[in-house]
Each structure stands twice: as structure tokens, then as C-alpha cells.
């Protein structure tokens, strides 16, 4: 090394990482012989590409492949490298740097590139063996010592780094759990929709993802054996990797009195508060911002090199940065203001079947943010548009489709496929088969094709292709049936949405919106309750009810009144009550000063004017007297009205009260497209008004007459006669079967009356009177669903496990 040239300025670099060495390279590119350079590095290795730690962990790369500057390079550039020695002091008076081993170097200009430290959660057990961070080659070595098939790992942090670590460990055969504090993964790079797709994809690879999870402690004696969450969950593990963020490593700068906030403060020229000292990379804070991604750090290096070599007075201006997740098989890109704000608008494209989601955020016709998931091939093009920041103009129309906007329409493109290509994957129907059926049988509508060929009759995702074939085959003669969309968030009708929920096994509202290409990010007040109901009906026991998609009454389990108070109606089985129940109701009315008590049309007692804050106490008291929710607030089974029947009435021919109670015990708690009321009359005089109920039962000498599809309301509709049965057991089976048919086919907010008119009584008779096997199957499905539905919401809501947030104000300011 050429140490004797005295007229050169002496530049000392503290930090042999990416930021420091990139700056050195930029300096050498501008003024090759200007400085005599010394580099101190705390790590013993030469400078390596820290971004490539994930592929190193995953086994996709070797260490040699990720080295950026070999020892030979330092020699070739006449740079003195002091690797493995930590610098612990700078004497700013004498302009001298001193290492931990005592090595001293004088400087004219000093460059701090001390990087960042991984943030270690200050939790019990953080020092146990097997609890490590993910920042350096040494960390990767530690992980690989433990990694192996059958071993378990917990990664704390579902951000970019954490997920890359999880992916690497997963590839090494470990069973990986990811614990993330925020409700969605990678919230700094992804919006909720993309994060949801990501979570699904990672789960499909066998990872366990815990979002909204707060770590409490690491358990073990010497080695970690489990992670304990705040909710009490314990996750057994052999390894814990903390990837919860980084902190600028500004300790040295702070110790020697440089201006520091979170990081070492620099100006636009990357100069610290000492004019002889520059800083670059993750250790700096520029205009209140710290940086962890590589692109802006490269910009810093360029600006710094321009200034330190006096090439130009370049100011560092942080440019928009894009992020990609380096997990093979998962394409993801985000850049700019991907969350949007009040001044932006969104253009969203979803292709659920292909797992693709794109969101462009525009402000005043300019692209300011982008999220791509599933297909990031157009990301560079979007990123260019974003950085150029020019008005989109006509491009606005097609920008979401990428640089090559699709030109051919579906009919053209599907008609150009060979006859042997499969159109309907669910049923294995080929294009030729469909075209032949259309020609042979004169099919004219989607439903015709479904009935004849089964194409698009299952999950329905090929409906567009089948329509294309109809259009291609029939030309202008094809007149698609106009379907009323469910709401403004979709072009699909209720029936199509339900078919595809069941056929496509869509088990959450998010899945449905994603795969059915909802045009709004989270639906509206009209489709969310409908989807929630369709999920409940399709997936009993599996689907977790979404309280936020429930109308207020069903969320609060009480009826909202016009002044914002609530009414409470306990169930009275078959309209029969007792002195104990009435006494308990009277006590509740007094205790909570309930202003109005009224008898309802459904033979129950309504307590009106209950304050929201009192609801849980009211329920607890009513529960204590044996009463449960009457669901008077829900799209659910309401009442079973009865007359007194043969037990007391001189005209009664059957025990209508007992049957009413049995029916109510069987059906209570069931959710429906709309409210459902039942009644049982003990003789044809019909005092229980069974012929204006959704399902009415009227006793005769010979047995029971069953009626369906009646209601009171704005337009009174008397029931249609369904059939006669002889035994009570038959009444129960027919009732369950009819309710299930309505539950499965009724559109949300369509009562049985319009449902019966829509499908016709003969259709219902064919489904459940003539077809005994189908009746039994319907009844079985109803009873299966009831196993999960018959749980008193009042007991749940007044119990310890309830989410009680909605019952009280979050704060009082008086």
C-alpha cells in the first residue's frame, strides 16, 4: 500500500458495509487518486450484500456469491481495510480515530457508515440461547446450526425481513410460525387486500401466521423452548428469530457529540454537525427521516461523493422507493404512497383465481403509489410512471392493465382457442362440447348451458368464457339475461355470488370480494351483511361471524330505536311464560329504569329504551332467570306464535302450544335471509294467524296442514298451501327442510313471500314434498347448522370472552 504520499487528503471510513463501500466506490469513480482511504469494519468478513442474506439463508446463494468487495479489491484500490476491529472513539480535536484494539488513524475527512442495529424486544427470555436477530452473516450461521427438517422456528415480525427469514427457514424444512403485532402482514409495504393474499399464500406453504399477536416472553431454561403470547398461547419452538425492525446505529456519533436525533443528523450534502465528518446509510437521519431500503441509500452515496470530492453541490433528495419481497414464487411490489389518502383515488384490479391484485393510487391524474401482488411483471413500468410524475391523460383508462393493454375482447379470444381446450375446470368441459351443445339443443343462455353441459355450473369462475362462446356462436342473437347486481360493488347478482361462494369454496368475506372481483376495497353497508349471511349459511361451524359486517341490531343483539337506545325481547317459547320469568322481567325493568314495557305481536314482552351501557347487565339478569335472546332484532327465527290448543280450548283438535314450543326449540338461533316467523294453530279457526306466517301449521282432525310464504307487513300475503302431514315428527322435518331451502336459495333481505313467488309453489313441492330424499337432506343440513347456531348471544356477550368494546364509550371528556 502506498502510505507515503502526504499531499493526499486522508479519508477514514467507519463501517465496511454496503452504504460505506458504495460511497467509496462513488468517490473513486469521481476522483480516483484524491484520497488516501482507510476502512474500519466491525465484522471480520469483507463487504457483502446484506440484501442477499435471505437467499443465503434459503440456500439459494453461497457466501462467496454475495461478497461485494473482495479483499483483493481493497488492495487493488489502495484502500487499507481494518476488518474485525470496532471503532470506539473519535478525537474530533486531533482528527483521530481509534479502534477497540488500539489501532489509530488520523483523518482530514471522516465518513460514518455505521449502519443499524436490529431492534431486540426487551422481553423476558430475550437472552436465552436460540433467540437471535437477522442482520448479519453470523446470524445466518446461528440459524443454520439449528435449522433442519422437523425443527420448529418462530419469527417475530411479519415485515419484509421477517417474512424473508421465515421463507428461508421454511425452505430448510422447519415448521415456521410468524408472529406479527399488526393486524396485517407487511403493513408498511402492502395494503390490507394484498396482505391478505400474501397471508393466504404463506399459509398454503405450511407457515402459521399469527397477526395482531403480541409476544409476552420467551420461555426456557438455557435454550428457548417456546414463545408465549399475551393472550396466553404458547408456541413451542427450537429457534426464535427477531425481525421487528432496525435502529440507526448512531451511538458513536452521539458519544463524540455530533448532533443526533434517532440517527446522526446530516444536511442535504450528507454532512454532520462537524464539517469534517460525513455520514451515510442507515445510521443517518435526514430531514427527520431514517432509511432502511437500499435505493435511497444509493442516492445518498452519490450525493455525498459529489460533495466530498467537490464535483458538484448535489443535494440528497429521497426519491420514491419500491419494495419487492424476495420470496421465490411470490411476486410482490409496492412503491410510493400505496395506502393513498383523502386526496387520492384508487384503481383496483383483482383476479382472484390467479391470485392477482393490483392497486394504483392516483392524485390529480398522476400515479403516486402502486401495489402489485401475484404478478409484478409490470412493476418497472409503473415505477417509471410514478417517478416521472406526469399526468396520465388518456392512459388513465387502461393504465391498470399494464403497458400492453388487452385489446381483444373475451368473445374473440375464447373463440380463437382450439376445440379441445378446457373451459370449465371443475367439471372438465371442453370448448368443443359446449359449442356442440349450443348448436344441437339451441341453447341461448348461461343457465341453458349449465343445465345441459354443467359448464360453469360449479365455481362459476369460467362464466365469462362460456358467455364468450355463446356470443361467438349466436352472434347478435345472444341476449344475456339482465341480472340485477347485488349492489354497486359488484356486477354479479345474489344467486351467482352464492353459487360461486359454495362452488369456489370461498370461506371468508375477503376471499369472496377478492375472487369475485369486488370493485370496492371492503364492500358497502349492503353487500357486507349479505356476504356474511351467505358465509354463515354455506360454512356452518367453519365460518367465523364478522361482527363489523352485521347490521347494528345483530351486532348489539338488541333493536336500535330512533333515539339510539335499544329494545330487549327475551324468548318466550311458544308464547308461554311463567311467574318466575315475569318477575325477573319486572325486576329488570325497575333496576334499569326501563321506560316502556310492551307486549309484542309475537306473544312476547318488549322492554324499550334500554341504554347501550346497560345491555350486558340486563342480559345477565335475564339469563339468570333462564331466559335467552328472542332474536327480535335479527334476520333470524323470531317467534313461534301459538294458540292454546286442545289442552284448554273447547275447539282445539291438537296440542298446538306443545308443538309450537317444540318447533321453537328446534329452530331458534337460525339465521336467515330475512326475519322468519312461525305459528301453530290448534284448529282451522286459526287463532294463531298461521296463514300469514313464513311457515304456518294448522291442526286438523287428521293431522296438520302446512302453509308457506305468508307475511303481514306493507303488503299482506296469505300463505300457499304446501301439503298435509300426519305426525308431529313430519311437521318438524318439513319445517326444517323448508327453512333450509329458503336459507340456501333466498336472496338476502328477500322474505319467504317473495321467494315463494319467485320460484313458485310447484318448485318447492317438487324439492321437498315429492322428493323425500332431498327433504331429508335439507332437514339434516338445517339440523347440522343448528348445532353451531344455537348458542345464546346474550350469554356470550355478557360473559367473560365477549368483545365488550362496542358497549361503552372509549373516552369521556366532560
Amino acid at each position: 500500500m502506498d502510505m507515503n504520499i502526504v499531499d493526499k487528503q486522508r479519508l477514514v471510513v467507519i463501517g465496511n458495509g454496503m452504504a460505506g463501500m458504495r460511497t467509496v466506490e462513488e468517490i473513486l469513480a469521481r476522483s480516483p487518486g484524491k484520497f488516501q482511504i482507510t476502512v474500519f469494519g466491525a465484522e471480520p468478513q469483507p463487504n457483502y450484500d446484506r440484501i442477499m442474506l435471505s437467499p443465503l439463508l434459503a440456500g439459494d446463494k453461497t457466501f462467496d456469491q454475495i461478497v461485494l468487495n473482495s479483499r483483493q479489491w481493497y488492495q487493488d484500490q489502495n484502500i487499507e481495510l481494518i476488518a474485525g476491529e470496532h471503532v470506539d472513539w473519535i478525537d474530533r480535536e486531533r482528527k483521530l480515530v481509534r479502534g477497540a484494539a488500539g489501532t489509530e488513524r488520523p483523518y482530514d475527512l471522516l465518513l460514518l457508515a455505521t449502519g443499524s442495529n436490529p431492534f431486540v424486544l426487551p422481553l423476558p427470555g430475550k437472552d436465552l440461547e436460540g433467540v437471535i436477530t437477522f442482520r448479519s452473516v453470523a446470524d445466518v450461521d446461528d440459524m443454520l446450526k439449528v435449522a433442519g427438517p422437523g425443527k420448529r422456528a418462530v419469527v417475530i415480525g411479519g415485515g419484509l425481513l421477517g417474512l424473508e427469514a421465515a421463507h428461508g427457514l421454511n425452505l430448510r424444512g422447519m415448521e415456521v410460525s410468524v408472529i406479527h403485532l399488526m393486524p396485517t402482514l407487511m403493513e408498511r409495504q402492502l395494503d390490507a387486500s394484498a396482505a391478505h393474499l400474501l397471508e393466504r399464500k404463506l399459509t398454503a406453504r405450511g407457515m402459521n401466521i399469527y397477526t395482531g399477536a403480541n409476544t409476552e416472553a420467551f420461555l426456557g431454561d438455557e435454550r428457548v423452548r417456546a414463545v408465549k403470547l399475551k393472550d396466553g398461547t404458547e408456541i413451542p419452538t427450537d429457534l426464535v428469530v427477531m425481525a421487528v425492525g432496525i435502529r440507526p446505529n448512531s451511538g458513536l456519533g452521539r458519544a463524540v457529540g455530533l448532533a443526533c436525533e434517532r440517527g446522526i443528523v446530516v444536511d442535504d450534502a450528507m454532512r454532520t454537525s462537524d464539517p469534517a465528518i460525513f455520514a451515510v446509510g442507515e445510521c443517518v437521519e435526514h430531514r427527520g427521516q431514517t432509511y432502511g431500503l437500499v435505493a435511497p441509500i444509493w442516492d445518498m452515496a452519490r450525493a455525498l461523493a459529489d460533495n466530498i470530492t467537490a464535483t458538484a453541490e448535489t443535494a440528497f433528495v429521497p426519491a420514491a422507493t419500491g419494495t419487492r419481497l424476495k420470496v421465490s414464487g411470490i411476486e410482490m411490489f409496492s412503491a410510493g404512497e400505496f395506502m393513498g389518502d383523502k386526496t387520492t383515488e384508487d384503481v383496483v384490479l383483482r383476479d382472484g383465481a390467479r391470485g392477482i391484485y393490483k392497486r394504483l393510487v392516483l392524485r390529480e391524474d398522476r400515479l403516486v403509489g402502486v401495489v402489485c401482488f401475484g404478478d409484478a411483471s409490470d412493476a418497472p413500468w409503473y415505477f417509471d410512471l410514478l417517478r416521472q410524475g406526469e399526468a396520465l391523460g388518456e392512459l388513465r383508462e387502461t393504465v391498470i392493465f399494464g403497458p400492453v393493454a388487452a385489446s381483444a375482447d373475451t368473445a374473440d379470444s375464447v373463440m380463437s382457442l382450439p376445440d379441445s381446450s378446457e373451459i370449465c375446470g371443475c367439471n372438465g368441459i371442453k370448448k368443443g362440447t359446449i359449442l356442440a351443445a349450443i348448436a344441437q339443443h339451441g341453447l341461448a343462455t348461461i343457465d341453458d348451458v349449465r343445465t345441459r353441459t354443467k359448464a360453469s355450473a360449479s365455481c362459476g369462475s369460467c362464466t365469462g368464457l362460456v358467455e364468450g362462446l355463446l356470443k361467438g356462436a349466436l352472434g347478435s342473437a345472444y341476449a344475456p339475461a339482465a341480472v340485477k347486481p347485488m349492489c354497486k360493488c359488484t356486477s354479479l347478482g345474489h344467486d351467482e355470488v352464492r353459487r360461486r361462494i359454495v362452488g369456489g369454496k370461498l370461506k371468508t368475506i375477503e376471499d369472496a370480494m377478492q375472487i369475485l372481483e369486488w370493485t370496492t376495497p371492503d364492500g358497502c353497508g349492503s353487500c357486507r351483511p349479505a356476504l356474511n349471511y351467505y358465509m354463515i349459511c354455506a360454512w356452518p361451524g367453519e365460518y367465523v361471524d364478522d361482527a363489523q359486517s352485521r347490521f347494528v341490531n345483530e351486532r348489539m343483539h338488541a333493536n336500535i330505536q330512533k333515539d339510539g337506545t335499544y329494545s330487549v325481547v327475551p324468548r318466550m317459547w311458544g308464547g308461554v311464560t311463567s311467574s318466575t320469568e315475569l318477575r325477573a322481567i319486572a325486576d329488570v325493568v325497575d333496576k334499569y329504569k326501563i321506560p316502556t314495557v310492551k307486549i309484542t305481536g309475537g306473544q312476547r314482552v318488549d322492554m324499550l329504551g334500554v341504554k347501550k351501557e346497560d345491555l350486558r347487565d340486563v342480559w345477565r339478569d335475564l339469563n339468570a332467570a333462564g331466559m335467552v335472546s328472542g332474536h327480535a332484532y335479527g334476520k333470524a327465527l323470531r317467534t313461534v306464535k301459538t294458540c292454546v290448543g286442545s289442552e284448554w280450548c273447547r275447539f282445539g283438535v291438537q296440542d298446538s302450544t306443545a308443538l309450537g314450543i317444540t318447533l321453537e326449540r328446534m329452530t331458534w338461533g337460525s339465521w336467515h335471509p330475512h326475519k322468519v316467523k312461525l305459528a301453530v294453530s290448534g284448529c282451522p279457526r286459526n287463532c294463531a294467524e298461521a296463514t300469514i306466517k313464513d311457515f304456518g301449521v294448522v291442526a286438523t282432525e287428521a293431522g296438520w296442514d302446512l302453509h308457506i310464504g305468508g307475511n303481514g307487513g306493507i303488503k299482506v300475503r296469505a300463505t300457499d298451501f304446501l301439503c298435509k302431514v300426519t305426525t308431529e315428527q313430519e311437521v318438524l322435518e318439513y319445517c326444517g327442510a323448508f327453512l333450509q331451502l329458503y336459507r340456501e336459495e333466498g336472496r338476502y333481505l328477500e322474505r319467504t313471500a317473495p321467494y315463494v313467488e319467485r320460484v313458485g309453489v310447484p318448485y318447492i313441492q317438487q324439492k321437498m314434498v315429492e322428493d323425500a330424499a332431498n327433504r331429508s337432506a335439507l332437514y339434516q343440513r338445517f339440523m347440522y347448522a343448528q348445532r353451531f347456531a344455537q348458542s345464546d348471544p346474550w350469554a356470550e356477550q355478557s360473559g367473560p370472552a365477549a368483545d365488550v368494546r362496542q358497549y361503552s364509550p372509549m373516552a369521556e371528556m366532560v
Binding site: E187, D803, M810, V814
Partner: protein, 112 residues
């Protein structure tokens, strides 16, 4: 939020996680309840808890995008402006609110 923030006194009324996503909670004040909304993107909005139509409690409505559907008669109110959307017209008073380190800061009235 932005333009209104000047001269407004902010009070910590709770944590972001005190409100369920796509939900709302109320803050009781001497002048009536204020509803604090949290949408799916974790944005926070504050409106007087009274629908401009018939004074329905907006905090009990269904939150979607940047709007809420009133539980009483289904009016859709913009959380950003407090204005009724679509064919309806009317406006609910809105308040400054901001999120700092997971805490919700509500701006009501001028600094004392």
C-alpha cells in the same frame, strides 16, 4: 384534518386497537357524543355521532371504504367530509383527529 389542525387542542382518547377494524367507538363530551371511526386501512376519522337525516348514531353503522352507512335509514355519510353521499344531502360536523404511535388524538375546541 390538515388545514383544521391549527389552534386545535389534541387529547389522547385511546389506542387504535380500542376500535375494531371497520368499526367505531364514541367519545362522550359535554356537547354530545363524537364517533371515532377506524377503516380497513387503519385510517381514523371523527364525526359528531348524529346522522344529518334523523340524528341516528353513526357510530353504530357499517363502515366501508371512507364512509359509513347510518343504521337508522341507510344514509351513507362520508367520513372525510361529514357530507351525505349520493342523492341525500346534509352534513355532520367533523373533528380533527390524528394517529400518533398507535394513540388516537382528538382535536376538540381551541387550546385553553
Amino acid at each position: 384534518m390538515d388545514g383544521m389542525a391549527r389552534d386545535v387542542f389534541f387529547t389522547d382518547v385511546g389506542a387504535l386497537n380500542d376500535i375494531p377494524r371497520l368499526g367505531a367507538r364514541t367519545v362522550t363530551t359535554a356537547e354530545g357524543d363524537i364517533a371515532i371511526f377506524r377503516n380497513n386501512q387503519d385510517e381514523i376519522f371523527a364525526l359528531r355521532d348524529r346522522c344529518p337525516h334523523k340524528a341516528g348514531p353513526l357510530s353504530q353503522g357499517i363502515v366501508h371504504g371512507r364512509s359509513v352507512t347510518c343504521p337508522l335509514h341507510g344514509w351513507v355519510i362520508s367520513l372525510e367530509t361529514g357530507q351525505a353521499m349520493g342523492a341525500d344531502s346534509g352534513c355532520t360536523h367533523r373533528f380533527s383527529v390524528k394517529l400518533e404511535d398507535g394513540r388516537i388524538l382528538l382535536g376538540i375546541g381551541a387550546k385553553p
